[in-house]
């Protein structure tokens, strides 16, 4: 009888240890997912065309058609992102259009679209997490503002769009003597990023 109780006790301890182990393992897994190399950051929302999201507002009642075809809606999309190999529903989730789908079948939201891009562009994803690929603003020693891949790259035509450069510096030959009353040239940056008008003059004098 005593032996039996002891055995039961052992069994209970064994189960407890097992449960503890699994919970530890699970939590470790959770931590790993949390860290995942992606530090705490803030990303602005994805740049949807106006009125296009949520996709389910139209797609909810539509039948899923995986065939490659000429679209009669979404005509503004020119798909040049390895178009031969892929079509819409390889990234967009067929069953619920408001989310994206990874190759593994895992669903990710549009706010986490970097997981989708990272499937193919692994080295770029690694650099982006480290803060080397892509633009970073905020604090160099604190909270950083990241950007989603799609904030700079149109997912359907990912090549970075060329920009008009700002004017070159004045050549020494073109320097002219100017009087203090001459108009001061404006910073050409104002044409691209308008100057925030802060009332700086001290009215209370």
């Amino acid at each position: 009888m005593k032996v039996l109780i002891q055995q039961k006790k052992l069994y209970a301890i064994f189960i407890a240890v097992l449960m503890l182990l699994t919970s530890v393992l699970l939590s470790m897994n959770a931590v790993a997912e949390d860290q995942d190399g992606i530090p705490e950051f803030f990303v602005p929302p994805p740049p949807f065309s106006e009125g296009i999201f949520p996709c389910s507002q139209c797609h909810a009642d539509m039948e899923v058609n995986k065939k490659r075809r000429k679209l009669f809606y979404h005509t503004n999309i020119k798909f040049t992102h390895a178009a031969k190999q892929r079509w819409c529903l390889d990234c967009h989730n067929p069953d619920d259009r408001d989310v994206l789908r990874l190759a593994s079948g895992k669903l990710v939201s549009f706010e986490e679209s970097y997981y989708l891009c990272g499937q193919c562009h692994g080295t770029i994803f690694r650099d982006w997490k480290a803060g080397v690929h892509g633009k970073r603003t905020g604090m160099w020693n604190g909270k950083k503002e990241y950007r989603l891949c799609v904030q700079c790259h149109n997912p359907h035509q990912p090549r970075f769009k060329p920009l008009k450069p700002l004017p070159p510096p004045i050549k020494p030959a073109d320097i002219k003597y100017s009087k203090p009353t001459d108009e001061i040239p404006e910073n050409p940056l104002n044409t691209v990023f308008p100057l925030k008008t802060i009332s700086r003059s001290k009215n209370a004098k």
Binding site: V132, F160, P165, V192
Partner: protein, 307 residues
Amino acid sequence: MPNKIKGNSISKSISRRGFLKGAALGLASTAIPFGTADASVWDAFLQKHFREMNEDEIQTVIKRLEKEYDKKFDTKFNIKTTKAMPGTLFGYGLDLSRCIGCRRCVYACVRENNQSRDPQIHWITVLRFKKGEKWIDLEESEKYYYPGAVPEEGYFYMPVQCQQCENPPCVRVCPTKATWKEPDGIVVVDYNWCIGCRYCMAACPYGARHFNWAKPRIRKEELNPETHYLGNRPRYAGVVEKCTFCVQRTRAGRYPACVEICPVGARKFGNLLDPKSEIRYCIENKRVFRLKEDLNTYPKFYYFFAT
């Protein structure tokens, strides 16, 4: 004959009395007015070296300068004197494989750092190179390119600014010690101590220092009133100025203005002493070089290729 010489206008004699009168008037006109309302001229003239002043003396100078700027620009300036954070050594990374040469950084720097618009001063110069064998021949670079759109096929771009050398030749040649390296690695200029000899400009191998040939002119609405004594406060005619990694921003934890404006994210900034910083990741994982490394200037500005 002697009569002819006498008639020459050069030999016209000046009386002793007349000479003395003239000399006295001339001297009086060059003298600094004292005893009058402009006592601050004397204060500025007798100001001590920035690093020899104690906190009170610095505050007195700041008050005087803020008053001076207020009068000059009709704008309330805030001049900070934030010291270097302990345990920081600033480093900069620039991804040459990403830069498209759009010059946004040049003018964001101008907006942030109160450079003179006329005569024009830029702290950043973007050089364009033809892709090819002799790709880093600085003599072959183009500074005045202006196409309709960038990047152009067959070219790449390299912005150059102060490299914040660990062994800065500009500091060594300054006869008045008006420029020095701060503990966080930034090379700064005290515009009130600079005599404008431009030795530092001759010593700098990167062309990173710029001289105010005339009184700097900026539109009033474009002035940035958030300044640092060693950084972007308004300058005078006849002093040298340079990039300070935006000391007024970076000592407050923010990124420099050029980093924040870059549309392709080619510019990286961080603390070289922090192993987890972006700049350390670049140095450890990317192909890195420093400009004119052979001159032993030890720049803290790293060009790299992320691809």
